[in-house]
């Protein structure tokens, strides 16, 4: 009767079981191979967590007549995930399946970091004190709506500044950590706003970024 060793499925044969030695070594080698390969896969998964980075390959103009733009990004710089996509027409980054679609691409449950940055400059004159704002919204449409919102917003990081006509461009950055624990897809929306009434505002090509990175699974901490 072989004796079990440890908790990785390894065992050793009985002392007089010489005929089984070759088969035993094959089985032992295979089990060691499998156990190590599984450990290596976990480690390599930690070294390369799913992530997606977006940018704008072309300059974007925010008009004085339409001061908020939510379709800034048009280029995926890198996407190491199998479950995050960006819909440039909608201006929405999906973690998991798209909103309203069947859940065919489940996301990894756990902690994520979302963030963005952009620079914007008035094309001409500046309305002193006019606001520049960058905001993200992480939305799970399957969560119960929170009054008065019609959808469940997990996080809304915002950076806002007033242009005092000091010259040059204004830069804004936002970052937030979120916990996703459900099944249906989550949307990450962005809005870049300029309330400069004196002239349009431009976001130069390659000066806006948005990213999502998976940090790993985590237990849900319930606060009484």
């Amino acid at each position: 009767m072989p004796q079990t060793i440890g908790n990785h499925g390894l065992y050793c044969p009985e002392f007089d079981d010489y005929a089984a030695v070759a088969l035993y070594m094959q089985d032992l080698g295979t089990r060691i191979d499998e156990a190590l390969f599984a450990q290596q896969a976990l480690l390599e998964g930690f070294l390369a967590p799913p992530a997606i980075v977006l940018t704008n390959s072309a300059a974007v103009t925010i008009l004085t007549t339409d001061p908020a733009d939510s379709t800034i990004f048009d280029t995926v710089v890198v996407n190491t995930s199998t479950f995050m996509t960006y819909d440039a027409a909608l201006g929405e980054l999906f973690i998991g399946s798209e909103n309203g679609a069947a859940t065919t691409v489940p996301y990894l449950r756990g902690a994520y970091t979302v963030g963005a940055g952009c620079r914007m400059s008035a094309v001409g004159a500046v309305t002193v004190g006019s606001a520049r704002e960058l905001s993200l919204q992480v939305v799970d449409d399957t969560q119960p709506p929170v009054f008065p919102a019609s959808e469940f917003i997990i996080s809304t990081p915002v950076d806002s500044v007033n242009d005092q006509n000091t010259g040059g461009d204004y830069g804004l950055v936002v970052k937030s950590n979120i916990l996703l624990t459900r099944t249906s897809g989550v949307r990450v929306r962005h809005t870049m706003t300029s309330l400069n009434a004196a002239s349009n505002t431009t976001i130069p090509a390659g000066s806006a970024f948005m990213y999502v990175i998976y940090n790993g699974p985590t237990d849900i901490v319930e606060v009484a």
């Binding site: 070759a22 080698g29 060691i32 190590l36 480690l43 980075v53 890198v78 940055g117 040059g168 204004y170």
Partner: protein
């Protein structure tokens, strides 16, 4: 004719082969090599490239964005930290943070800005406007910014500060940190 396991090539005897001590030695050597290869990955996980550097005070005149110069290293694990910033050691996604502060009180301050540059290109910038032309003392301003960059080995990560207003130079203190999050 020996056989080999699929992932690490651990050699084992097949039925009918003579099993000598050399067979056991080869088996053990192969297992050792497999362990060593996983050890190498494990070491990478335990020692992700990350570093932080500090600037105890750079005198910067109002006007253009100016490169920051760092004079000490808080820690450096697998990065190349220098006075100008960091050098990316390997392709990947990196989270970079910049903290800025100053106690200097010039005549007027109308804006503050910090920037994170990759290979000379501004990736993230944060600029704030002063609502008061004469900032209070001490610690009249702080500014933090951070961002994720997709970088390749050898890229330089540098930092800038700029302000508008009038009066004496601002002496700016800064701390920059970087952490590799993902291989590419």
């Amino acid at each position: 004719m020996p056989g080999f396991t699929p992932n690490y090539g651990i050699e084992y005897p097949c039925a009918g082969e003579v099993i000598s001590p050399a067979v056991f030695q080869t088996f053990a050597d192969d297992v050792e090599a497999a362990l060593a290869s996983v050890d190498a990955v494990s070491a990478s996980v335990l020692a992700r490239p990350r570093a932080a550097i500090r600037d105890s005070g750079t005198s910067i005149a109002f006007g253009a964005m100016t490169a920051l110069t760092f004079d000490s290293t808080d820690f450096d694990n697998g990065m190349t930290a220098a006075a100008a910033g960091f050098t990316i050691p390997s392709n990947g996604l990196y989270m970079i943070d910049l903290e800025l502060g100053s106690n200097t009180i010039p005549t007027t301050v109308t804006s503050w800005a910090g920037a994170i540059l990759l290979a000379g290109t501004v990736m993230y910038k944060r600029k704030i406007s002063e609502t008061s032309s004469t900032p209070p003392a001490p610690n009249n301003d702080e500014l933090n910014l951070s961002g994720l960059v997709s970088a390749t080995a050898g890229n330089a990560v540098t930092f800038q500060f700029g302000w508008t207003g009038t009066g004496i130079n601002l002496v700016v203190t800064a701390r920059a940190s970087i952490s590799k999050l993902c291989d590419l």
